[in-house]
Amino acid sequence: MDFEVSEEQEQLRASVADVLARECPPSLARARVEGGDAPVQPWRSAVELGWTGIALPEAWGGLGLSFEELGLVVEEHGRALAPGPFLATTTWFAPLVRETGDEVAGARWLAAVARGECTGSAAWGPDLAGRDAGVRARRDGDAWILEGTQRFVLDGDSADELAVAAQVEAGDGCALFLVPQQALKCQRVVSLDASRPLAHVGFDGVRVAPDRVLGEPGASRGVLARAREEASVALALETVGTCRTLFERVLEHARQRVQFGRPIGSFQAVQHKCADMFVQIEKARATAHFAMMVIAEDDPRRALAASLAKAAAGDCQRLVAKEAIQIHGGMGFTWESDVHLFARRAKTGDLLLGTAREHRARLAALLEL
């Protein structure tokens, strides 16, 4: 039992933090939010330094490390408010391809991810509320035809490859396919955090060749669930990272902003809000790190741990994003302040892949209430 990161992991984390502090100031996310093109950084550094393949096997050009190392890199990306394809590619696309156990696909697509030649994302299928019909697949000789729409796909109109969960009329009803960007009909969403681009993705009779079918169609529900657990934990870690930076800014502001002749951080009303935010951050961080270890060790508590982490991260951002704007006062209410950029990112982290409330509903079921 050891919740402390190892010395090597701490060195990795510190070096990632250094690089991101240099290459990825919040102005990158701001430029993206204000309508700029997708930035070159920090993706280029991620490729050069091997972060894109950090948890991929060495046979595919990865570093052969575990989800713990990937998780720490993701948390630092959240701290830096990093824009770009890193999250979707390494924590949505890669796990879904890897979990199918398809060695040929792994050697082809994940090796390309490790080299930085391929970005990806995932269309996870219908949401829990059934608002989204999702994508259906039918056989056409030895190929497949995809029809339907997947809404709110992260990097949906920019990822090179999309791993798509579609309904089939066989086995467990779930099949996985790889579809290249040019085959998709995308509609960009005007989203809360434009540095985290979302698109509605249409499949208008997309023909998928047999070499782009992942695993056995009709036997993919388990694969999908496992990949989604991993993606949820990664998103929780990213949200924790974003909240931590936001909270540091709150503390800095509370120490420096003087009203009534005193720093506002000396007022008990502000101090108690900060203490409560800190408790939520510690809570979210500890559960996210627990879940990170559970995924890395492939412990049987995966489903439980993933929902714990996602729910705790949701609780955390709810308080931190709110109080961060409030404590920054008039300054926090301006476009010019970066506070809202972090708040937008943190909110997005909660609303994607199931909100805190949805994950609590899942926990209630796991607890057999």
Binding site: L251, E282, K283, A286, F290, A312
Partner: protein
């Protein structure tokens, strides 16, 4: 990072479990003579604590002569996990074992240690802690109970309040003012006061949960004579002991708190199977499900936070981060009891304790448990004081 303990640690756990299996107090004996306060140690409890001491299972981190076995921090963690699983406490004078004994060990003279330390560990003597006063609750350093040095003795006059176990304890570990001219933190000393001394008047003060059960007392001192040799640590330097005392308590307290909360989550799961006011199973109520799941998240988080900060806490240092666990843990428990109580509806109003007792068949009513949770959000530094500590000492915000 590792999710599991290594084999050697698991062997340590197995050894402890086997020992506990053999040596736990007999249920009938416990029910026949329950402890009535935090310093009332029935014969079975004294014998049990002595067995723990002799086997080195009382304070495993300490050496054998002090009831331990020089256990490593990880072993101590496992020890507290296991002790939370059994229905009896280590000691029925918890303040004596977890607050006063460590303070004696750190600050008392060899002669004082010989007289008080081992007898306390063996439950031969019991203690109350003389800290709070009517005018000194959160502002503990404002305490007014005066001790005047006259030759080789102190004369103590004043009043303590909310003093747990005072009616049953042999000695009071008492914080007194020995210099009324000095700044308030620098005029405080600690005396060991024999509770049988003339001039001490103990009046019981039942807590809000039950008029018939009092652990609290008011303690009045009127010219009580205390020999100078009972001064613990240097004169006027008792304040550091006050902070240190409570830190001892918190180092691993979260382990048993997390275990207790996990047991209460199980009670909520049982409650979910009972009908709610609309006749349906409570477990079908979306709000109840959400609240229980939320509490479950918090309880698991408390455990993860404890493990994460463990390296720091393991050394028994006064880490201000303890405040996070104290604040969070006590507030979870309060929310949890309230969720259960409100889920019960009018049923929750039945607060008949009949049949409840130590190791009794019945759980105490949720309403009483809810009221009792204020013990933890108030004692040992209120939740508001914990927030001040977090803001100022952990986060470095300026003092108000």
């Amino acid at each position: 990072m590792k999710l599991h303990y290594d084999d050697a640690t698991e062997r340590f756990r197995a050894e402890l479990r086997a020992w506990l299996e053999e040596n736990q107090p007999d249920v009938a004996a416990v029910r026949a003579d329950p402890s009535r306060s935090s310093a009332h140690v029935p014969e079975w409890a004294r014998a049990w604590q002595e067995r723990l001491f002799d086997a080195g299972w009382l304070v495993p981190g300490w050496p054998p002569e002090l009831g331990g076995r020089n256990a490593t921090p990880v072993q101590q963690l496992v020890y507290f996990e296991e002790m939370a699983r059994i229905p009896v406490m280590r000691s029925y004078n918890p303040q004596g074992l977890t607050i006063i004994a460590p303070s004696l060990r750190d600050f008392a003279s060899p002669a004082q240690q010989a007289r008080f330390l081992v007898p306390s560990l063996r439950a031969q003597i019991t203690w109350c802690l003389g800290m709070s006063e009517p005018g000194a609750g959160s502002d503990l350093a404002g305490l007014q109970t005066r001790a005047e040095l006259q030759g080789d003795r102190f004369l103590v006059t004043g009043q303590k309040v909310w003093t747990s176990g005072a009616a049953h304890s042999d000695f009071c570990f008492c914080f007194v003012r020995t210099d009324s001219e000095a700044p308030k933190h620098r005029g405080i000393s600690v005396l060991v006061i024999d509770m049988r001394s003339p001039g001490i008047d103990v009046r019981s003060m039942p807590e809000l949960t039950d008029r018939e059960r009092a652990d609290f007392n008011e303690v009045f001192f009127d010219g009580v004579v205390v020999p100078r040799e009972n001064l613990v640590g240097p004169l006027n330097q008792g304040w550091s002991m006050a902070a240190g005392s409570l830190a001892h308590e918190r180092g691993m307290l979260w382990t048993s708190q997390a275990a207790r909360l996990e047991q209460q989550i199980d009670r909520l799961r049982e409650l979910a199977r009972t009908p709610g006011s609309d006749g349906r199973r409570l477990g079908e109520d979306a709000v109840f499900r959400d609240r229980v799941a939320s509490l479950y998240v918090d309880v698991q988080a408390l455990r993860c936070m404890g493990y994460r900060g463990f390296a720091k806490f393991a050394h028994g240092e006064a880490a201000p981060e303890h405040s996070v666990l104290k604040l969070f843990g006590s507030e979870i428990e309060q929310r949890l009891c309230l969720v259960a109580l409100e889920a019960q509806g009018a049923e929750g109003l039945d607060v008949d304790w009949a049949g409840f007792g130590m190791m009794g068949d019945r759980e105490p009513p949720w309403a009483n448990r809810y009221l009792h949770t204020f013990a933890n959000t108030i004692a040992g530094g209120t939740s508001e004081i914990q927030r001040n500590i977090i803001a100022q000492r952990v986060l470095g915000l300026p003092r108000s």
